[in-house]
């Protein structure tokens, strides 16, 4: 192998050098491969396992812990692979409850630790499941659209599978979704699953006969100044826009049913009697007065300065003629009741700062057209209806998939102060909707910080990617509607504004109606419908006296007695009345063993946390009491009565005693007996109300 040319020595030298350099360059990759980030974490975790090992077995296990990538594979979810557990090694190890991240034990949730293998991690937390480096896995790299969800919004993930508005154990998400529905996001934005959403905002037909132009002007200028806590957002309208809108709204004629009656000037009523009626009718079970009350209906302070006396009288006579979609029931007030209530509301609930009525409006054609354009521009019809018009609704962007929108597609406009991330953008959008650039139309809702957190959670839960069918928990769709004449009465008295039945209705009352017939006795129910008594003194919301005619009460009681039955609940367990020895034993159990009087009042003594039990036998079926005592949470999960795990004998004896507690005498002010048909205006129902 003698060198053939003299210059080859130099050539051989460079050949050797470049070969070595090439080899060194090739070695970089395997070395990098060996010293990957996750190996460091795995070494640290192994050390931690040694430190915390409590037995020889655990030491052995720590020693046997091999280095390598770990993953959860979910073949029926698009073949997802989550390798988070390559570094988050302690998620299932109770010994790591207080370890530093990434080794800490996963907190308990309804799905952990049972469902790790079913879901993986990314479905809840976001990030890039396949990655094995820290920044890549957390999605903090430019090419990954879904970075890890900040922990405060984690509940958004619950909403990807649980599509109902109320999600148990996800209070923030539920609050956010309730808020979205309440403030009317769906009026302007399309969101899958809420296509049939209906706003509760007032019907604007015939607005001219309800209030004054001056009041409307002040209202449009700044709704929250006039009525703090209103859901009407502030559109930041200019004075000019307000003028033309008022022109437009004033020109909308009332519908045929919105008839104020023949009297030009209704007679004045008795304010004192109106006040009694107001408290007796328990208006604040729904309305608020200066912020106090349930809040499911509008604030009433200031109403005297807002509405027209004649309109109010007509409205109280039949609210449904004016607001077909209102939740307010139709009280069967007499004409005198109506006038007295009107007098009280008009005189008592005035707002000195409200604008004076001012002169009537002079119509102008051009302003009307501009007003119509403004009405359409801001999408007012998303929430408000005007009879005979079909204006564009849902004028805002579609929100489907907003929860996974890449930050690069968001318009940050002039908000240079925000980090370029979706949650921050959403929070800024709902709290300061028009701060991004000029010409935006979304109004200001005046959300609190807590509201914003809840809303962002709810918005982040609107996914682009469908979860597999097996994981979906769809919102209950088929809405139950009570049938026939009963249904008509239920609608008339708006029972479902407070009660739930078959998944329909609001949850203001504590009593769903599904098994009402198995629960209470028919005669008691009829009396209760005619004149409700206080059952749970601790609650502010009470059943309202609707003044229904006796025939209607009898019909409703009969219907519920026959239809709203649960065959799993026994009917009567003492057909011949409770035996005396069982009653006596039950009495001892009640007072001595279980101390029921701590919460329940019997004979005027005891706590008032639970329902009053005087006359419970007249109210409740013995089978119900027995069934209830054996596990109250079978009725509703949030029942506060503790489950004492009573055996059958104890439950039976207790039921015997509770069923035999005598009703108090009528003189004590209770209406459990006696003739309930009475003249309107009797103040008895108001008594005993704290």
């Amino acid at each position: 192998m003698e060198p053939p040319e003299p210059s080859s020595d130099r050539l051989w030298f460079w050949f050797a050098i470049s070969s070595l350099a090439c080899l060194a360059a090739l070695a970089v990759s395997p070395v990098k491969d060996y010293f990957q980030e996750y190996r460091g974490y795995q070494d640290r975790f192994r050390e931690l396992m040694f430190h915390r090992a409590g037995s020889l077995q655990e030491v052995r296990r720590a020693r046997a812990q091999a280095a390598g990538i770990r993953q959860i594979w979910i073949p029926d979810f698009g073949g997802r692979v989550d390798r988070c557990i390559t570094c988050h090694l302690g998620v299932e190890d109770p010994k790591m409850a207080d370890a530093q991240q990434p080794f800490r034990l996963h907190p308990r949730t309804p799905h952990t630790p049972a469902d790790f293998q079913r879901f993986g991690c990314v479905i809840c937390h976001g990030g890039q499941g396949r990655a094995t480096g820290r920044d890549e896995a957390h999605g903090l790299v430019p090419d990954w659209d879904a970075p890890v969800l900040p922990v405060r919004y984690t509940e958004a993930a619950c909403g990807r599978c649980h599509e109902a508005d109320a999600v148990p154990e996800a209070s923030l998400l539920s609050a956010g979704r309730a808020l979205m529905s309440r403030v009317g996001c769906y009026g302007c934005h399309k969101v899958a699953g809420h296509e049939d959403w209906r706003s509760e905002a007032p019907d604007l037909s015939g607005l001219g006969q309800k209030t004054s132009p001056a009041w409307l002007r002040a209202w449009l200028k700044s709704p929250r100044d006039l009525r703090p806590g209103t859901w009407m957002p502030d559109f930041r309208l200019t004075d000019d826009e307000i003028d033309v809108l008022v022109q437009f709204l004033w020109a909308q004629p009332p519908t045929a049913s919105q008839d104020l009656g023949p009297e030009e000037d209704p007679p004045r009523g008795d304010q004192g009697r109106g006040k009694v009626l107001f408290s007796e009718s328990r208006c604040i079970s729904c309305h608020t007065v200066e912020g106090r009350g349930n809040g499911s209906a509008p604030e009433l302070s200031g109403i005297g300065s807002k509405v027209n006396r004649r309109w109010l009288a007509a409205y109280l006579g039949n609210p449904h003629a004016f607001e077909p979609a209102t939740r307010m029931p139709r009280y069967r007030f007499s004409r005198r009741d109506v006038l007295d209530l009107t007098e009280y509301l008009m005189e008592e609930f005035t707002d000195p700062s409200a604008p004076a009525a001012g002169p009537p409006l002079r119509p102008a054609q051009r302003s009307f057209q501009d007003g119509e354009a403004t009405y359409k521009k801001y999408g007012c019809a998303g929430c408000h209806r005007i009879a005979g018009r079909s204006d564009p609704v849902q004028t805002g962007p579609d929100l489907t998939g907003i929860g996974e929108k890449p930050a690069s597609l968001l318009d940050f406009g002039r908000r240079d102060d925000l980090p370029r991330r979706l949650p921050e953008w959403l929070a800024a959008k709902v709290s300061q909707p028009r701060s991004f650039r000029d010409g935006l139309k979304m109004p200001d809702f005046g959300f609190t910080e807590a509201d914003v957190g809840a809303l962002v959670t709810a918005l982040l839960s609107l996914p682009r990617e469908e979860v597999p069918e097996r994981l979906r928990d769809p919102a209950p769709r088929p809405r139950y509607a009570p049938p026939g004449r009963f249904g008509v009465l239920v609608s008339e008295y708006r029972c479902l504004s407070c009660h739930q039945v078959g998944g329909a209705g609001e949850d203001i009352s504590t009593a769903p109606l599904e098994a009402e017939g198995s629960r209470v006795r028919r005669d008691w129910l009829k009396r209760y419908l005619l004149l409700p008594i206080t059952l749970r003194p601790v609650l502010a919301e009470r059943m309202i006296p609707l003044r229904m005619p006796e025939a209607e009460a009898a019909f409703m009681a009969d219907f519920m007695d026959n239809v709203y039955r649960d065959n799993g609940i026994p009917d009567e367990i003492f057909p011949a009345g409770p035996p005396a020895d069982q009653v006596e034993r039950g009495r001892k159990l009640f007072f001595e063993r279980y101390g029921c009087q701590a919460c329940h009042m019997v004979g005027g003594k005891g706590g008032y946390y639970g329902p009053l039990l005087d006359g419970a036998g007249e109210r409740l079926r013995s089978g119900w009491i027995f069934w209830w005592l054996r596990g109250p949470q079978r009725w509703r999960a949030d029942v506060r009565e503790p489950d004492y795990g009573l055996d059958e004998t104890d439950a039976r004896d207790l039921a015997a005693y509770v069923g035999s507690i005598p009703a108090p005498k009528p003189a004590a002010g209770r209406a459990a007996s006696g003739d309930p048909s009475r003249s309107a205006g009797s103040p008895r129902a108001g008594r005993g109300v704290p």
Binding site: M1, S29, R83, Q128, A131, T132
Partner: protein
Amino acid sequence: MDVLRALTENRLWRSVVRHGVRGTNRNRVMLVMENIFLHLHSAKVRRRSLEISSTYYLGGISLTLFAILTITGLMLMLYYHPSVPQAYDDMKELQFVVSNGVFLRNMHRWAAHAMVLAVFFHMLRVFYHKAYRPPREFNWVVGVVLLLLTLLLSYTGYLLPWDQLAFWGVSVGTNMVKAMPVLGPAFRFLLLGGNIVGENALLRFYVLHCVFLPLALVLGVAVHLWRVRKDGGIAGSSGLRRADAGKIP
């Protein structure tokens, strides 16, 4: 040296390597002519042709890059499924879990870029050295075809990662094909296996990238090298020596 001789002067060795490396002209010629890997090359070249300024080794560099691409490509095929959305997931797997996967993929990618560059410069070199002139016209045409094949290989490989860049790159490219008169839409349909850039397009581009185009390229390179030899070896810088360069008017 005795050990070396003992190793090389036995029947087994001689059955593989027939000629040894003795530096006689005859032996050198035999060595080249009877070796399948070397036989395309001229048995004898002028010293002048081996100087760097004659060719800048651009053809050889292109060939070497093609070899690297073939090897890394075959290895990548072990980890790749031409299906949606698995294709993109496979890229991620290469990045995150395949040992040296990033290295493998980057080798393929950068070698591809370098090959386009090398082939292009090769063409420029041939052009400026007037090496396209008779009798080399045909080989110039073969070279142009090889450049096109190189570009097509790059382009078909572009879709395979199935990321946004790939998708839109191919959308734009195939829409350009559609703009071709008369045959455009039909040709695009043929290329995509449908009317959208979808799974069929991915599969077609995969087959083109891994089978048809490489085979065509290998064939083309064989013809190209063969013709280099048959046309009288490489044409250096028009026979001008550096010493004469100043004398050109």
